[in-house]
């Protein structure tokens, strides 16, 4: 039992890590793209919004004909799910950078890339991180449902517990998942607060 718990926790972690990392990469890139292409905002944010609105079980279901059954499909679904908070926060964080700051960066001869790397991303870091935190916590929860399509993870205990009306089994899945979400929230929250005070940069 303990062995199985250990395996399932690892499976769960792997699934969550893969999904949130991918969602962060795609979401941040997408958000940056949207700051430069205002015309694409309704389409991309709309898409990500719809993805988030589809009930998770249904989203898993939709993906089965496309990607088959198993962990890959689950990760794809989780990424689609986590995309919106990251993308939306990246866009909002960069847009909230003071126009005068952007203007003076431009006037000092910084390139678009330098402005992004040295000005916009550092100033938006807190907001982006808040999006990543929301995405991570949601993914940890949603990943329990992935067991329904054979992706493993802590959901295995929960579904098995429901099927056999065994509260102990259900809790064995639910409690570690909840703990994982709380811990992730605390860790990412700590990073966010650390970035609340501006960090010195090199001269």
């Amino acid at each position: 039992m303990l062995d199985e718990l250990f395996t399932l926790v690892l499976e769960h972690l792997a699934m969550v890590a893969m999904a949130t990392l991918t969602a962060t990469l795609c979401g941040v890139s997408g958000g940056i793209l949207l700051t430069r292409r205002a015309g694409w905002r309704p389409a991309l944010l709309g898409f990500a919004g719809v993805m988030q609105t589809v009930p998770s079980l249904a989203l898993f279901g939709f993906l089965i004909p496309l990607c088959g059954i198993g962990r890959g499909t689950a990760v794809v679904a989780l990424v689609l799910y986590a995309l919106l908070p990251v993308m939306r926060n990246t866009l909002a964080g960069i847009l909230s950078v003071d126009a005068a700051v952007r203007e003076s960066a431009l006037a000092m001869g910084m390139s678009e890339w330098q402005i992004l790397r040295e000005v916009e991303l550092p100033l938006a870091a807190r907001t982006i991180l808040a999006g990543v935190r929301v995405a991570t916590v949601t993914t940890i929860g949603t990943a329990t449902i992935a067991a329904a399509i054979g992706a493993g993870g802590l959901g295995v205990f929960i579904f098995r517990g429901i099927a056999s009306v065994d509260t102990g089994q259900i809790l064995l899945g639910a409690v570690p998942a909840a703990a994982m979400a709380l811990i992730a929230d605390a860790i990412l929250g700590w990073f966010e607060r650390r970035w609340a005070t501006p960090a010195p940069t090199r001269t």
Binding site: D98, L106, M108, G109, M110, Q114, T201, T203
Partner: protein
């Protein structure tokens, strides 16, 4: 000698409004031209054309004889020091990093940047040891503006654009800042475009004054002649010096 800056029949339209109309003037090497005008008269728009942040709808702005549209924008901007109305300091950079930014982009070595930053702060009467490690949020508005001036001067550009640089200073500090400005521009032979809505300031810092009124250059001439200028807007500005005289 080619003027450092030339405006040639420059117009600018945005949102269906004509914001600048057929602006023509020149700024010669070593000269300070003040653009004087009320709020909304188009001063900032004209100034931002010099470093290609705004492109004329028609006409041409030339810097060192070359149209701003023909310059690679970053090369043009790096040789111009720009102090913007709202300071635009980087909130996540210390004073040291803010001032050192352009020299760093230009590839100066750190020791030289440090020495330059200290020299500039000293010249602007901010004690380097007290201020270098602070963030903009830890400065008063007037101190921020002076750091903005130091940042614009850091890489020693020959051409300076000042947009209401001393707007947030109290009258005493403001007068000092104006004297420092004169010292820098006169002693180092800088060319400057200085935007202000304060006639007193324009008279003090400028060799020549250009008067902007509703997007048009209403009058331009030596600062000393402004007090005798015939234009109605010039008269209104003179009255602003002494309201009792109206």
């Amino acid at each position: 000698m080619t003027p450092v800056v030339e405006f040639h029949e420059v117009s600018f339209r945005a949102g269906g409004c004509e914001i600048l109309r057929r602006l023509s003037f020149e700024i010669h090497a070593g000269e300070t031209l003040a653009l004087l005008g009320r709020s909304g008269s188009g001063k900032t728009t004209a100034l931002r054309m010099v470093n290609a942040l705004v492109t004329p709808t028609s006409g041409e702005v030339r810097v060192e004889g070359r149209a701003t549209t023909a310059w690679p924008p970053r090369e043009l901007r790096r040789r111009i020091g720009y102090v913007i109305q709202e300071t635009g300091l980087f909130p996540h950079f210390t004073v040291r990093a803010n001032i050192g930014l352009v020299p760093r982009l230009a590839g100066w070595d750190p020791a030289r940047i440090e020495a330059r930053s200290r020299e500039l702060l000293q010249a602007l009467e901010l004690r380097p040891d007290d201020f270098l490690d602070r963030y903009p949020a830890q400065l008063s508005g007037g101190q921020q503006q002076r750091v903005g001036v130091a940042r614009a001067l850091a890489a020693d550009p020959d051409l300076l654009l000042f947009d209401e640089p001393f707007g947030k200073l109290d009258p005493v500090t403001r007068a000092e800042a104006q004297r420092q400005f004169l010292r820098v521009t006169r002693a180092l032979g800088k060319t400057a475009l200085f935007v202000t809505h304060d006639l007193r300031e324009a008279l003090l810092v400028a060799d020549r004054i250009g008067l902007m009124h509703e997007g048009v250059l209403a009058w331009i001439g030596p600062a000393g002649d402004f007090l005798g200028a015939e234009h109605a807007e010039a008269r209104r500005f003179r009255q602003s010096l002494d309201p009792a005289d109206a």
